[in-house]
Assembly symmetry: C2
Homo-oligomer: 353 residues x 2
């Protein structure tokens, strides 16, 4: 019998999220979550939530949260869109800025969701190979060289954790004809960001999330900053009530306690430097990390083998089988205790050979 | 300058949600929310939420909630999809089951979101006029008469609150070539439902929500029941983590306390019957309601005028300016106290003439 499912959907390979293994005792360094709890104000918000508030629809425009974010980034309310995780925002961008005969471009390797988003939107993929050292491919990105409706650009990149020169990105924004979405999921762990580009150019959005630096992957809140015409298009296409009341309130409490997030980020950056050094001391090739994870190539066994042995010891890291990523494991920067346990396990594995 | 926003999105008239007027003292009978609080277990869940749980991503498949819903409806896990409100599910259906040259059909008048969903999907609208009495249009719905990829069918219908014969719907499901999505947002307030059709036919999904009977519009959780091939297509197209941890837990607590919901529904139905009678006693034409709202045509002034006068008295009802709905106001069934205040206001308005 003929399927009633759209042809492009039948052929689609869905995005595969990292494994969520919830048994006690497992050390989970595979999905780049923040190991430290969110602001204590989050607990207060949940404890004080009046049940009858939940009988009402949420604010469809998340106005109070957007006001707080606009203040944080020196923008106006009309420059801010709040989504059900930054995933929703990226998906909306593919529907807002790409005609049916358009192309969605992205670097290779980068966040593996980007090619799935192109497939979901049923338009042509436009992968652009990064340099051999995972750096910016200058000739492919020269003015006029990249033709696409939408460029999805992760800064810092995932899974490499590396950044590009902001001046280089600015030059690309100045000449690219389509919309550039700079996905800054991990940017609080870096030293620079691209926010200014979103307010400077009318074809640039930056996207941020509460999932990483704010320790709130569970609430699904992300946001976009940029030109009000682009932001308005996202509003037109979103579900009427795309973010729920609880998550709006929790995110607002977290933004108001911005210092708590910065403190957690500082701890994670310090741990990251120690972990990077410890991996190098053990012969790993470590890519320079500006995120809360480290991409590292093991010295004397394959990345896949290392992933499996760690897994057998109940330590989860991420392994990507892709052509250019298969030599590396991606390790989330956990607590100091988790990192110590990881290093102990690595030593045992490397000794065993 | 040329806009970078997709042409179809520039032309789009977005869905306009009912007004959320949050001042104290306002009687809000305009968005069909439940006036009674959700299960007390909801409060417990929120109070006991461990903050570090929120650092983790939610279960992308909402497995525990889907298990509970599968049990409730005597289906399997593979027959249940959980979405970020039923709005998300309806939008996913337009992308899962409609090719670019397809048609999305729906009754006129019906939930005004349906035509917006066709516009968002950038495919042809297929409105089918209901009978003069807002009943099932037998000839337009005869076998083979309606050609569409997707039929969005509200049962009970909104904003009329009326139902159709389940046997009539079954006959349509048997012969329609596309997918039928039966939107049962208000079905707990009716006496019958169409759940059995979703498990019987491979081209039928029913959609339900926690927003109405469960008193949880704020959490944005809806679900679909039906054939596993259709359900799987929704999984492929959803955002990776489409529902957040808090809402999953809250909805699970509410399902487990199903009796609490049934008790609230019984009270609302009793109030509805009294309100319908009181409106008829005052000369209103009242459509037979199977939902938690009443569509009624006032006796001696226009519906728009009545809406405005009630609004001036800080009572919000809903007015739809559409061709076939402009003679009616839609009134949410509130608490007995709210209904008493409404009737008092109506008496004053009708006396004033």
């Amino acid at each position: 019998m003929k399927s009633r499912v759209r042809k492009a959907v039948q052929d689609l390979d869905a995005y595969m999220p990292g494994e969520q293994w919830r048994e006690p005792g497992v050390i989970k360094l595979n999905t780049n979550e923040n190991p430290y709890p969110p602001s204590p104000h989050v607990t207060t918000v949940l404890r004080d939530m009046i049940p009858v508030e939940l009988t009402r629809y949420p604010d469809p425009n998340a106005t109070r949260l957007r006001q707080a974010l606009a203040r944080l980034h020196n923008g106006d309310l009309a420059n801010v869109f709040v989504g059900n995780g930054s995933d929703e925002i990226l998906a909306l961008c593919t529907r807002a800025f790409v005609e049916d005969d358009g192309v969605i471009a992205y670097f290779e390797p980068s966040y593996s969701l980007y090619q799935v988003l192109a497939d979901m939107r049923n338009v042509k993929r436009g992968p652009i190979e990064l340099n051999a050292d995972f750096g910016w491919p200058a000739s492919e990105m020269a003015p006029g060289a990249c033709k696409a409706s939408l460029f999805l650009l992760a800064y810092p990149n995932a899974p490499t954790a590396m950044v590009y020169e902001p001046a280089t990105i600015r030059e690309f924004c100045r000449t690219f004809e389509g919309v550039i979405v700079i996905d800054q999921a991990y940017v609080d762990f870096a030293t620079e960001n691209c926010d200014v580009l979103a307010l400077e150019f009318d074809n640039v959005l930056v996207v941020r999330t509460f999932s990483k630096s704010y320790s709130l992957a569970g609430i699904r809140i992300g946001y976009a900053l940029g030109n009000s015409e682009l932001i308005e298009a996202l509003f037109k296409l979103k579900d009427s009530y795309n973010t729920n009341s609880l998550s709006q309130e929790v995110a607002l409490a977290a933004v108001k306690d911005h210092q708590h997030m910065l403190k957690n980020v500082a701890v994670i950056r310090a741990t990251r430097e120690r972990l990077a050094q410890a991996l190098q001391d053990r012969g790993f090739l470590v890519l320079p990390s500006h995120a809360n994870f480290i991409m590292a190539k093991p010295p004397s066994l394959s990345a896949e083998e290392l992933y499996k042995r760690l897994r057998a010891m109940r330590i989860l890291v991420r392994y990507f089988s892709g052509r250019r990523t298969a030599e590396y494991v991606r390790i989330t920067v956990g607590t100091n205790e988790q990192v110590a346990a990881l290093l102990k396990a690595l030593d045992a594995i490397l000794r065993a050979g």
